[in-house]
């Protein structure tokens, strides 16, 4: 080897071969694996740490994850119709309804879950299983602005000039705007009062940004109050960001994150095993601990301090929305938001 001169050509050929070889996907995991779409960031980290080992131990199934936000999962599954790029969805209620309408799920048989008895009655349906709850309210920086009380405080002084807003693109943004409208006399299907009010205060609002840039905007003091879920607040607090969660007077909003089997999946059996592991009490308890901060749905889990409720049953009193009514209106709201907010 040493005596052979390494020519440039040979080096290039070697490099090309190496690259080519690694581009051919490894298909060594045909049996005993499930591919799950997973929210990037905290969720993926938490599932890699807790769910993947538990699934391997209990069922000898490997968990492969594709990091995708809910909206990207729907687009991807729809574009690849019939040949889903993953076996299991993880979705918020809005995209879930869209996926049902577009026929992207396999039917779900709740009886195949061993942990079924420990789940609340409405945690499963014919399409999937609830794996986590999300609670949405107001987040503010206690060092900069006084504690807000109600949703409508967001559009009043002194908060409005420190307000960071997102539009209808996210689930938490949509439900928050609906709640503001409700306090102003609107309803789940009527956000007109919000648009009327926003027009008056628009120039004062500190930031109307992309969801992705909100944590940075908050951290750097561009805005000091916004709407978001408890999980984000807990995660940012764990990273020493000055932020606190407030439950508005009219109640926080709760919605559920659900998992579903993709239509045409060839690993449905393993998907059930995956769901069963996710909702099992020990895994739900681990997912609740910082830095994961996911709200559990298994009754066998004792809720951590710092959550806006002490038991899962209290969530019945939280504000809930009907996404089958919201979804058809959302496209119009997004268009309206663009037009109202653009300079």
């Amino acid at each position: 080897m040493i005596h052979r001169p390494v020519t440039r050509r040979r080096l290039l050929a070697g490099a090309a071969a190496a690259c080519g070889a690694s581009l051919i996907p490894a298909r060594a995991h045909a049996r005993g694996s499930v591919t799950a779409a997973m929210y990037p960031g905290t969720w993926e980290e938490a599932y890699r740490t807790h769910v993947a080992p538990a699934l391997k131990k209990a069922h000898d199934v490997d968990l492969e994850m594709t990091p995708l936000f809910a909206v990207d999962q729907i687009a991807k599954a729809q574009a690849a119709r019939g040949a889903p790029p993953f076996d299991a969805f993880v979705l918020d209620p809005g995209p879930r309804v869209t996926a049902i309408e577009r026929g992207l799920f396999e039917r779900f048989d709740a009886k195949r879950l061993a942990a079924l008895a420990q789940l609340p009655k409405d945690a499963t349906d014919e399409w999937g299983v609830t794996v986590a709850a999300q609670v949405v309210g107001i987040a503010y920086n206690p060092k900069k602005v006084p504690r807000p009380k109600a949703w409508t405080d967001l559009l009043k002084d002194p908060w409005v000039s420190r307000l960071g807003m997102t539009g209808f693109q996210t689930t938490y943004g949509t439900v928050s705007i609906i709640e503001i409208s409700r306090q102003l006399g609107g309803s789940e299907t009527n956000v007109e009062p919000f648009f009327t009010e926003i027009r008056k205060v628009l120039p004062k609002i500190a930031a109307i940004g992309a969801p992705a840039s909100m944590p940075s905007l908050f951290q750097q003091g561009q805005c000091d109050i916004t709407y978001t879920n408890t999980q984000t607040v807990a995660t940012l607090r764990g990273r020493d960001v000055d932020v606190e969660f407030v439950t508005p007077e009219s109640g926080a909003v709760a919605f559920f994150t659900t998992m579903h089997i993709a239509k045409g999946s060839r690993a449905a059996d393993n998907a059930y095993k995956y769901f069963d592991t996710v909702v099992s009490a020990p895994v739900q308890a681990a997912l609740m601990q910082p830095p994961n901060n996911l709200i559990p749905v298994n009754r066998g889990v004792k809720l951590a301090a710092g959550l806006p409720m002490t038991s899962l049953d209290e969530m019945a009193s939280f504000v809930r929305h009907d996404w089958s009514k919201i979804n058809p209106l959302r496209a119009g709201w997004i268009e309206r938001f663009n037009k109202e907010v653009a300079k």
């Binding site: 909206v71 990207d72 729907i74 687009a75 729809q78 869209t98 577009r102 807003m165 997102t166 539009g167 209808f168 693109q169 500190a206 930031a207 109307i208 940004g209 992309a210 992705a212 840039s213 940075s216 905007l217 750097q220 003091g221 561009q222 959302r330 496209a331 997004i334 938001f337 663009n338 037009k339 907010v341 653009a342 300079k343």
Partner: protein, 296 residues
């Protein structure tokens, strides 16, 4: 069409049988075929999707086109998008060309330093770049602190999520696209020409506009086209730095394709962007040809 006079203009032979410049054309075939297979077909797919009325792609029709082109708001969005590209091109040229001139006059060591500085923006991911621009343009940001300290304004200026701020950020982000082609062309411009011009008594301004600029024009135009195309389509930078107050075509495409899944409308917006940006690029090329004809 003016065929090249020289036999095999780039050293590529003419076929002895008199095939003429055809041999050289063949070199464009691999790329053309690759594009036909992996770009043209998806593009045709987009065109096909845009010709459906409904989101589930069942009824053929032009309802989405009518909706989009019949709404003055969307025309304003198209105009804003093209304007954004135009402002970015002007800003990058205005401060990028002087950097190229300094580069031209510098010694080899400094040339390497400048080259390194020029590629720096490419080495920070789009994800952190957003954070850096929040730090710079924010209410409590670097610029506002300087402005308040100097007493130039009584209260913090609003820079973040404004067009000015976005153009400034895009100027940094797109600068390498202008400067790399420009510098690669400029480094081959004969420095003796500028010296000769100076020796003949021309002022440095005259030398710049009569000698250096015309000679470096191909590089400048290439750069301007890249900057224009890239800044008008840079969805992530536009949205994360510009925020929701600034609505450009890429934001509409994202909302329609990934939030409300109205793919026909998303395709309409995408094709509109393609057409309007193409027109911009063609305009830059036409200005370039005019300028070249004028200079020679």
């Amino acid at each position: 069409m003016t065929a090249p006079a020289a036999a095999g203009a780039l050293g590529v032979p003419r076929r002895p049988g008199g095939a003429g410049p055809w041999a050289e054309w063949q070199l464009a075939l691999p790329l053309a075929l690759a594009y036909a297979a992996f770009f043209l077909v998806p593009l045709l797919l987009l065109i096909a999707i845009s010709a459906f009325d409904d989101e589930t792609l069942t009824t053929v029709g032009f309802a989405q086109w009518r909706k989009f082109l019949g709404d003055p708001f969307y025309w304003k969005v198209i105009l804003d998008t093209v304007k954004l590209g135009f402002y970015t091109v002007v800003a990058t040229t205005l401060i990028g060309y002087p950097i190229a001139l300094v580069y031209l006059g510098a010694g080899p060591r400094w040339q390497r330093v400048i080259l390194f500085v020029v590629i720096l923006p490419l080495l920070t991911s789009v994800v952190v770049r957003t954070f850096a621009w929040i730090v710079i343009l924010g209410r409590e940001g670097v610029i506002n602190q300087a402005v308040l300290w100097l007493g130039l304004a009584p209260a913090p200026l609003r820079l973040l999520q404004t067009e000015h701020g976005l153009v400034m950020a895009l100027t940094q982000i797109e600068m390498p696209l202008l400067l790399l082609p420009l510098l690669s062309v400029m480094s081959r411009v004969d420095p003796n020409l500028a010296d000769a011009s100076a020796a003949l008594g021309a002022s440095r301004w005259r030398t710049l506009f009569r000698v250096t600029l015309p000679l470096s024009l191909p590089g400048l135009l290439a750069g301007c086209m890249l900057v224009f195309a890239s800044s008008t389509t840079a969805f992530i930078s536009q949205f994360t730095i510009g925020g929701n107050r600034l609505v450009y075509l890429p934001l509409l495409i994202w909302q329609q394709s990934l939030v409300v899944y109205n793919w026909p409308l998303a395709s309409v917006a995408a094709l509109t962007l393609l057409v309007s940006v193409s027109l911009g690029v063609v305009a830059i090329a036409a200005i370039g040809r005019r300028a070249q004809a004028y200079a020679s």
